[in-house]
């Protein structure tokens, strides 16, 4: 890359950025060639998002220089970045789902009529959008409401939006985090096409398998500094992990617990509102980790919500230790010793603008009262204990949760629930969007709980995780359990086969 300075499209030198209480980027140098797919990886808090946000004009760096096409540029706003042909597809979807595709694609940059009224040129708007959609192999009408698209479809609209400014650099921050395998493959196809057209792509992801598949080059960040580059041939899972954490992770998954044959959590003829025709039956035994695999949208989260009493099931029975129980609300579930660690940390798991202490003790708060008064000393003791137990990295338990990194936030969610000493633990995508080290810690925690006899049901879409942690795999497809795999039957093909509706 360095030998051919002429083709270098973008150069960033000595980029340094401070945040309250932290140095987010420390003299980061990198370059990007025309038509190159550069993957940027690193643990949470390593500075990946900050770096691309500097490039996208969202953050202004305290130090450093940016050269684009050999010219020095200052990117001080999103508008400037857009003008320079730098486009950003964010991790979270930023679409107005009440409006149609074309309106979303050209939002804020609508083509106008050339008369004095300057009304929106609707004809051009829809024609241009249609062109872009064809460009990325999407055969949707530009008049379709975004609301009616799948998550994968909405992600493609984000990309269409980025392309509509004729981007030469496309930044994608975790674009596949909510996509199914099929949608991911379609996205990769589009990425390859864009590459052929000379668009350079910066691709941020936690999914190392995807990085290996898609990237021409990998840049690894650690603690706000570049810890290494890997060329196409050098990219391997081990090398990436080593650069990310600065050490070898010998064994990702440790299996120490022994599942017993004693059924703890039995679900019989359970009917979830979203799939009224299907009856769900399964059992989790004492000290067993059962993984519920399947594609996004298979109905796994809905099932978990119904089991926890967030929404009412249409029918069925739940047995806990052979005794039937009734769950009409989360309170009922918690009383029975069943807890759910929800998928969406920000929406369901945490109150981001509140203190770590408040969050950890929120679900168990009524245990720390005497004569209806909260015993604050006890609350603080419990919170501190949980922080130590789960090794949450923070300055103080009075810190706001939003100031923690993703992995530590997830540990706070777990801490909140483990205060309750559950009998049955439902985990919905417990390691989504967190770094490898935090992942490993969470796996170890699950091991520990299983060896204490907790029955654990994990919803997971990450194949390595599914195969690595499970004692038994249940696969869901279209609202029903399409198959069950015992340890000897574990294989990626078997899971994919069942998840996609194969018999």
């Amino acid at each position: 890359m360095a030998e051919n300075e002429g083709s270098s499209l973008l150069e960033m030198r000595g980029i340094t950025k401070y945040f309250p209480g932290a140095k987010a980027l420390d003299h980061v140098d990198f370059e990007l060639n025309r038509g190159e797919i550069l993957a940027v990886i690193g643990e949470n808090g390593a500075g990946k998002s900050t770096l691309v946000k500097v490039l996208g004009g969202i953050h202004l760096p305290e130090m450093g220089a940016i050269r684009l096409n050999g010219q020095d540029v200052v990117i001080d706003s999103v508008q400037t970045a857009t003008k320079l042909g730098i486009s950003f597809v964010h991790q979270e979807l930023n679409l107005s789902d009440n409006l149609d595709i074309a309106t979303n694609v050209f939002l804020g940059r609508e083509p106008r009529e050339k008369n004095f009224l300057r009304l929106i040129d609707r004809k051009k708007l829809y024609r241009d959008t249609e062109e872009i959609l064809q460009h990325i192999d999407m055969n949707y009408s530009p008049r379709l409401l975004v609301h009616d698209l799948t998550i994968g479809g909405q992600q493609m609209i984000e990309i269409a939006k980025a392309l509509s400014i004729k981007a030469q650099i496309l930044i994608m921050d975790e674009p596949t985090s909510s996509l199914s395998r099929g949608e991911t493959e379609q996205l990769f196809k589009v990425i390859q096409e864009l590459k052929l057209q000379g668009v350079s792509i910066i691709y941020i992801s936690h999914r190392l398998g995807e990085v290996k598949e898609v990237a021409d080059r990998v840049m690894v960040l650690r603690d706000g500094r570049v810890s290494g580059h890997l060329g196409k041939e050098e990219i391997s899972h081990e090398k990436m992990v080593k650069l990310m954490v600065g050490r070898d992770i010998e064994k990702f998954y440790h299996h120490e617990h022994e599942a017993s044959k004693k059924p703890v959590f039995e679900v019989r003829d359970f009917i979830v509102a979203e799939h009224p025709k299907e009856r769900i039956n399964f059992t989790v035994h004492e000290g067993e980790i059962v993984v519920l695999a399947g594609l996004v949208g298979a109905g796994r989260t809905e099932l978990a919500h119904a089991l926890f009493g967030i929404v009412k099931p249409l029918g069925g029975q739940i047995l806990l230790d052979d005794r039937p129980i009734v769950i009409n609300s989360p309170q009922d579930a918690m009383r029975a010793g069943i807890i759910l660690v929800p998928e969406d940390r920000k929406l369901h798991g945490l109150i981001m603008e509140m203190a770590v202490e408040t969050n950890i003790t929120l679900a168990s708060l009524d245990r720390y009262q005497k004569m209806k008064m909260i015993q604050f000393e006890e609350v603080r003791t419990v919170a501190n204990e949980m922080v130590q137990k789960l090794d949450v990295r923070l300055r103080s338990i009075d810190q706001l949760v939003e100031s923690l990194s993703g992995g530590n936030q997830q540990k706070v969610v777990l801490a909140k629930w483990l205060c309750l000493n559950p009998r049955v633990l439902l985990l919905d995508e417990p390691t989504r969007g967190i770094d490898v080290v935090a992942k490993e810690e969470i796996y170890r925690l699950m091991e520990r709980l299983a060896s204490q006899g907790v029955a654990i049901l994990v919803i997971s879409s990450e194949m390595l995780e599914v195969l690595g942690i499970a004692d038994r795999i249940l696969v869901m497809h279209d609202g029903r359990i399409s198959g069950e795999l015992s340890k000897e039957q574990f294989s990626e093909e078997a899971v994919v086969h069942l998840a996609t509706g194969g018999k």
Binding site: Y18, G21, L347, E353, L362, L365
Partner: protein
């Protein structure tokens, strides 16, 4: 805490400026008057704070206080009802109104603004219709009851007019004592019981609170009941204080004063944030402003303008200070890192 200190400073500054221009402001009689009004309006603001903390709002408190105030006078004087019975009915009605608001907000999922806006109209209509727009009052009797609004402690422990001059001047008005009691009860509820934390938690993120096993519907209903109960109490005290209650106008616009008190007092309309002391001081600031306008002889036509402007400046300054402190923290980190790698935490 910092926040309360900030608005306390604002209160002192407004009082100081007024005193410097005209010293009659600081006379015992005037200060006690302000405390009485702050007490009456403060009870409304304290109640209002709870729906606001759940990220809702209660626009009906003015109408509730008008209706309950008029009804209490009507029951006790016109209908000759025993005082205790009348009060039970009045408070029962107020609590019921809040309960209905809460039910509509949680079970029917209506927007708090709409529910309580309709309440604002309906209760006003009920007051006018049931009492046929006839002004209500207690006449010259019921001195015991009126003590709640007019009484002054400790001057009341002496026979009428025989207390020493200083005590007469500096005796605390009953509404102020009532708001201290109400304030302590609500502060304990908000800060020391699990319910207070539940209300703040659900105000910030209702779904996360529900996933944490909190009965968010019930806590929201409780918040609206606190609001309407406080409005009922304030309405009765207002009616005793003024002794004339016009069903068509009593309590008009009071919901906006209540919200103003909350906003100045640091209760975020986003929900999940608020404290009792701040709301009381916030209300006091608004009352002091009114009083200052009077004393300084500023045209009363300017009243609203001045009050609005001061609130705007106060709340605006608060936001500016917040973003400035955030920026200063960044600068600190920068200089700490910049001074040769070793992070020295001792920089200013």
């Amino acid at each position: 805490m910092k926040r309360i200190a900030g608005i306390a400073v604002l209160l002192v500054v407004v009082m100081l400026i007024t005193t410097l221009i005209d010293t009659t402001f600081i006379k015992g009689y005037n200060i006690m008057n302000i405390m009485r009004w702050s007490g009456l309006f403060g009870i409304l603001s304290l109640g209002e704070a709870f729906p606001v903390m759940t990220a809702g709002i209660d626009l009906s408190v003015g109408s509730i206080s008008g209706l309950i105030g008029a009804l209490s006078a009507n029951f006790i004087r016109m209908r000759g009802m025993p005082i205790a019975l009348a009060l039970v009915i009045c408070f029962g009605l107020a609590i019921l109104m809040g309960y209905i608001h809460g039910l509509l907000v949680t079970k029917i999922r209506m927007q708090p603004f709409v529910v309580t806006l309709c309440g604002l109209f309906i209760y006003r209509g009920m007051a006018r219709f049931t009492m046929q727009d006839v002004t209500q009052g207690y006449g010259n009797a019921f001195l015991g009851l009126k003590f709640l609004a007019h009484g002054r402690v400790p001057a009341a422990f002496w026979p009428a007019g025989q207390a020493p001059r200083v005590i007469q001047d500096w005796s605390l008005p009953m509404p102020f004592i009532i708001i201290v009691i109400v304030g302590i009860i609500l502060a304990v509820f908000l800060n020391r019981t699990v319910y207070g934390r539940y209300i703040l938690a659900l105000g910030r993120n209702e779904r996360a609170a529900r996933f944490s096993g909190i009965n968010t519907d019930r806590m929201t209903i409780v918040a609206y009941m606190i609001s309407s109960t406080c409005a009922g109490l304030a309405g009765i005290l207002f009616s005793l204080d003024l002794n004339t209650v016009q069903p068509s106008t009593a309590g008009n616009m009071y919901e906006l004063y209540a919200i103003a008190g909350c906003v100045v007092g640091g209760v975020s309309l986003k929900g999940g944030e608020g404290n009792i002391m701040g709301v009381i001081i916030g209300t006091a600031i608004v009352r002091v402003l009114y009083n200052a306008i009077n004393i300084l002889g500023i045209a009363t036509t300017l009243e609203f303008g001045v009050v609005g402007l001061v609130i705007l400046i106060g709340v605006g300054a608060d936001e500016v200070i917040k973003s400035l402190t955030a920026r200063r923290r960044i600068a600190e980190v920068r200089s700490a890192h910049g001074s040769g790698g070793a992070a020295s935490s001792g920089t200013t």
